[in-house]
């Protein structure tokens, strides 16, 4: 990693720069620098200097990759491809970001729409996404559904059996650990509908878990 001044801004830390006008160059801002800025500041800086766009990617790459794997059975390469598309779309729509909306919610929404769009085009399989579930997540789910803590395998099996619309809200609530407001913003539905759907989803999941355990 090389530290170089850029204009008057000495805070830049760049990776692999080749300042040559004939060659397309870019700099990836270090995480240390990125962490000094809020999401909104990064967006504003990205509009002035594209290199700051890398901060957004660094900040959300892991979360969004997990989310893609949770809602769709894709390989790592395919998930990367989705992320690429998503960030290109985000770049194009930087001016459209609703200031009242959390950036993370907006990113989840774009990812969700991209995955759904690929399902529709049959480019990606929507079957059998397996979800890596932490102990905390399992516990939270079990507590909320008044169940004895089920195993990761049982949850995954049950999730595959419930309807798509229920799986979506469960994933966002328990595995992405998002609030009702965030889920409402991602799925573009009123919070009341999110609450109703989540209740039904839990009932459906509980029933499927019961069946699996009985078998």
């Amino acid at each position: 990693m090389t530290s170089l001044p850029r204009g008057h801004d000495l805070s830049y830390v760049c990776i692999g720069i080749k300042p040559n006008k004939n060659v397309l160059t870019f700099m990836i801002i270090s995480q240390e620098i990125c962490n000094q800025f809020s999401d909104k500041e990064i967006i504003l800086k990205s509009l002035e200097d594209i290199d700051f766009f890398s901060c957004l990617y660094q900040r959300y790459e892991t979360k969004l990759t997990f989310y893609i794997h949770r809602i769709s059975k894709v390989t790592d390469e395919e998930a990367e491809d989705i992320l690429q598309e998503v960030f290109i779309k985000v770049w194009k729509s930087l001016h459209a970001i609703d200031p009242a909306l959390k950036l993370s919610s907006w990113l989840y929404r774009v990812v969700h729409n991209e995955v759904v769009s690929r399902w529709r085009k049959n480019k990606w399989s929507r079957d059998n996404p397996t979800i890596a579930i932490s102990d905390d997540m399992l516990q939270s789910l079990a507590d909320d559904m008044e169940l004895k803590k089920p195993t990761e395998e049982v949850i995954n099996q049950a999730l595959l059996k419930i309807s798509e619309k229920y799986r979506k809200v469960l994933v966002l609530k328990y595995f992405e650990e998002l609030s009702y407001e965030e889920i409402s913003d991602i799925l573009k539905m009123p919070e009341g509908t999110v609450a109703t759907r989540l209740n039904r989803a839990k009932q459906s999941l509980k029933s499927e878990i019961g069946k699996i355990i009985l078998v």
Binding site: L24, E61, L83, W91, D98
Partner: protein, 242 residues
Amino acid sequence: MENINKILDRIKKDAIRPTPRWLFTLKNAAIWTGFLMAVLLGALAFSVILLAVQQTDFTITSHLSHTKLELFLGLLPIIWLVLLLFFLAIAIASIRSSWRGYKFSILRLLTICVFMSISLGTLFFIAGGSQRLENAFALNVLTYESIEERKIQVWSNPAEGYLSGKIIGVNDQTLILEDFNKDHWEVNYSKAFIAPIIILEPTEKVKIIGKMSGDKKFNAEEIRPWGGPENRNGLNRFRQAN
């Protein structure tokens, strides 16, 4: 990290630029304009529905041999109801596609849009705009059957007990009525209830409930004003007299 390199590389290589802010502002403005237009057009449709309801004598349903449902459907301003529903749907779809539109449930949006259309439509109706709109439609849209034409159809059934037209002569017990087909009728009104706002004199347009008593002869049981903006002479005179 490799992926972000690819993304930045693609953005620079393809010279992808963020879509200008004004395009999003324009889109947003178009959505809100669409919403307001839809509410306004819905209001106009509602005002004509009010006019149709005002022009309809629902009490006559008991006199007709047709079923009430048949008559009700016949008098219903279907086209305006369809237009109202269409514009309500457009208004809801517009607001739902706005930035924060998804935060509202369909029921809430429907309530808001219906309330706005009803309020504006009622104001338009009170201001007399609905009649002008209806007339404009009747004059300019060939296939459009106006409320007046529907009313004439219902009230041109002497065999069923419904007669209407313009008074062209009045005697002690009878009056001569020219119906909308230009046929002349001798109407006996000696036992008829005559609405207080009617002054039986030539040029007054009336509708009559009663029974046919012969060829072009009719016994009136009830005489009512024809109604409508062009036929308010009787009403005005009635108001002045009181």
